[in-house]
Amino acid sequence: MTTQEYPQFDTLVLGAGIAGLQTALDLAEQGFQVAIVERDPSIGGKMIRLSKVFPTLDCASCITTPKMAAAAHHPNITLFTYCELNGVERTGSGLKASVTQKPRYVDPDKCTGCRSCEYACPTFVPDHEQGGFTSRKAIYVPFSNAVPQKAVMDPENCWICGKDGGQCVQVCATDAINYFDKPEDFTLEARSMVLATGYELIPDYSEKAFGPASQHPNLITSLQMERLLAPHGPYMRALRPSDGKEPDSIAFIQCAGSRDLNLGVSYCSRVCCMYSIKQAMLLSGALPLADITIYYMDIRAFGKNYEQFFQNAKAMGVEFVKAKPMVIGGTEDGAVRLRYEDQEGGGGGMTREHDLVVQALAMVPAWNPEGVVDVSTATDGFIKSVKPKIAPTLTDMDGVFTAGVAAGPKDIVDTIVEAGAAAMEVSNYLNQEALVAAE
């Protein structure tokens, strides 16, 4: 197997979410050569998986897809999707990154994204791109607006169904499927790097906090709710997962893990108040008769037009209850039972049932640089900014910058602003370096 050689890039961007894409586009527009390394088979990050965004209620797909396409087609940007970064070392003034291309089992140069393999595949697997609510196939294009539109096979679930290879192989017009694909290591050289690795939601919150009895199919995460509300979501409607019933009562639990020292999350995740309000508003539109309740500690609506957005939600009839509820479990008809102290009412114990309950889970770092890139993380696990006030994108490694949630929770607006700032820092760094080299 031949390993392709690449020329030196000006910048390597790690992560192709909105932070990484914006940084890459800003740099590419200035004429720098940018490589983007992404772990997933598609670029787009968390934002492409959202429904709409606050406070403008723009469709997330509609504003993210153009950025993805722009990055994919930009002459100065090279995408490396489905790749894992193993390590970065300094070579003189530059950086050398060792990367592994994970096997797609589909030759991306041959695949046209026609999806014939996907239609032919007989194996159904829960689709985590749709919150696990629907299924995908064992060979599949990750989602409808994935970039690149190339199939990927999941060897865990493929059982090579046919006598002469699988049904996918039989139908593929370009012979793109390769069962014998292997991981491939290669190196990328760059003069600088931007870490834009984003976040994940804290796992197993309710189980850790309230025990196994609290587990329930209608107790979902905020990102699952994004899928339920998305225009190309799993059911195309807001239905609850256990039985497909239209929920009459929906609750949101705020600070589910955030600001919880027991879970090692000392910080506020900053976006949960706003996205829960947004989801509540979208649900009010989708299910006009449903009762919607938000259980909160305090509402943090700090950005431009955010407070007005919160007030609008109240005016629309969303109920705000100051309490931190405990999830007890379920009822026979599929509702989730919560218990809380009625702080603003009589102060007694209240038990309430909701058809669907959404937990606004804490954001935790999606990636730990330890052993890969020699940058420090702060005690919260996010990448440490050495000048958090005046140059928040600077890390403690020369020529390595950070943008977006990789450096700490923030919303899309702040992420895009920070991505632009990171691009400018990189640009200054590269120009400075060139000047020094010229002297």
Partner: protein, 381 residues
């Protein structure tokens, strides 16, 4: 009532051991997970803390200030890791100074002071549980001091726990001995009622006695004693290797020193006592004792860290709770619904309360309440 904050009270609570009082951000998680939410109750721990922060009236009622069973459920769930029990203890200490201690607790405090036990019994009767058994006295050559909880020394039902344990230890050939009448209550519950000086008196007496007898290792029969010996005595000069009897029995079973001949063929649910489980994080050993005894384990919905308090901690074991407000009633119902024939546990307070609720719930024919040592003793034959 005018709600004028009186911050001297806040300071007094902080100075009396409630250092975390002002770390509370009033989210209400504590009140939501509190076992009192499962029955009708005026006791709302978030509100107790808020009134304490502001120094307002409202906490002085018996059912409120002395409502907390110190079960630690709120503490393990508190997002700010506030030592809520420390705050409650400090408030009760201040209440005690102002004479707010409830009548029933005053009798207990008085008995601890004069008799060295909370049960109002004479000190000499401390060894009555041993009648008919040949229990060795503790000497310097003995490996373990067997420190029997006051409840198991005096309470007729509870004595059987100590007696079963002695039989098992003798069968396994463990070197152990008892000091006897000179021992005093560990003072755990006394401290939780706010009687700090009473606790110190008991602690000093026990530490002086044990150190004077050159004690190195202690077996406790109650998680409350275990908690006090491991968490509170060390800073007062009492540092020993302390083991709860469930831990020792688990070792003995694992080492094959106790041979299970009969096998305990009944369906057993294990109730995690707050002070053994949530407080001391001993979850596995009691279960391995029961499994080792050949019990068929059945699961209740709430186990380990999520266990439901029996209602007996924090001095509540001596206070009157009307039947419909007892957590132990909910617990025996849970055990019966889970199909258990035996509800086993490892704490004398739990045994007392669960036994009582088993009777009031009319489950006498259906459900037995046993200490794990009693289960093992039956299996060993």
């Amino acid at each position: 009532m005018p709600d004028t904050p009186f911050f001297e009270v806040n300071e007094a609570i902080v100075c009396s051991g409630g250092e975390d009082l002002n770390a509370c951000m009033q989210c209400g998680m504590c009140a939501a997970v509190c076992p009192w939410r499962e029955v009708e109750s005026e006791f709302i721990i978030r509100k107790v803390i808020r009134l304490g922060q502001l120094g307002l009236e409202g906490n002085e009622f018996e059912d409120i200030l002395y409502g907390c069973t110190t079960c630690n459920k709120c503490v393990v769930n508190c997002p700010r890791s506030v030592d809520i029990i420390g705050v409650v203890r400090a408030m009760r200490a201040i209440g005690a100074e102002m004479g707010a201690t409830p009548e029933t607790l005053r009798a207990v405090i008085g008995s601890c002071d004069s008799n060295g036990n909370p049960w109002g019994e004479a000190r000499e009767k401390r060894t009555d549980w041993m009648n008919g058994l040949d229990v060795p006295a503790y000497t310097e050559d003995t490996e373990y001091l067997l420190s029997v909880c006051c409840t198991s020394c005096y309470d007729a039902r509870s004595r059987n726990i100590a007696r079963s344990l002695v039989k098992l230890l003798q069968k396994a050939g463990v070197s152990f001995g008892v000091i006897g009448a000179e021992e005093s209550c560990c003072g755990e519950s006394l401290r939780k009622t706010g009687d700090e000086s009473g606790f110190m008196k008991l602690a000093e007496a026990n530490i002086g006695l044990f150190n004077g007898k050159k004690v190195n290792k202690i077996i406790t029969t109650s998680p409350h004693c275990y908690h006090t010996y491991t968490r509170e005595y060390p800073e007062l000069g009492g540092e020993w290797e302390v083991i709860h009897h469930s831990q020792l029995l688990a070792q003995l079973v694992a080492e094959g020193r106790l041979e299970v001949t009969e096998g305990f063929g009944k369906k057993v649910a294990y109730h995690d006592p707050c002070y053994l489980g949530r407080h001391s994080e001993v979850f596995d050993e009691p279960r391995s004792v029961l499994e080792g005894a050949g019990a068929e384990m059945v699961e209740m919905p709430r186990e380990r860290n999520f266990s439901l308090c029996c209602g007996g901690g924090g001095g509540r074991v001596w206070m009157e709770t009307s039947n419909e407000k007892r957590f132990s009633v909910l617990r025996v119902r849970e055990a019966a619904e889970a199909g258990a024939e035996v509800l086993a546990t490892g704490c004398p307070y739990c045994i007392t309360l669960l036994e009582d609720s088993r009777k009031t719930e009319g489950l006498e024919d259906q459900l037995q309440v046993l200490d794990l040592s009693e289960v093992l003793a039956e299996a060993v034959g």
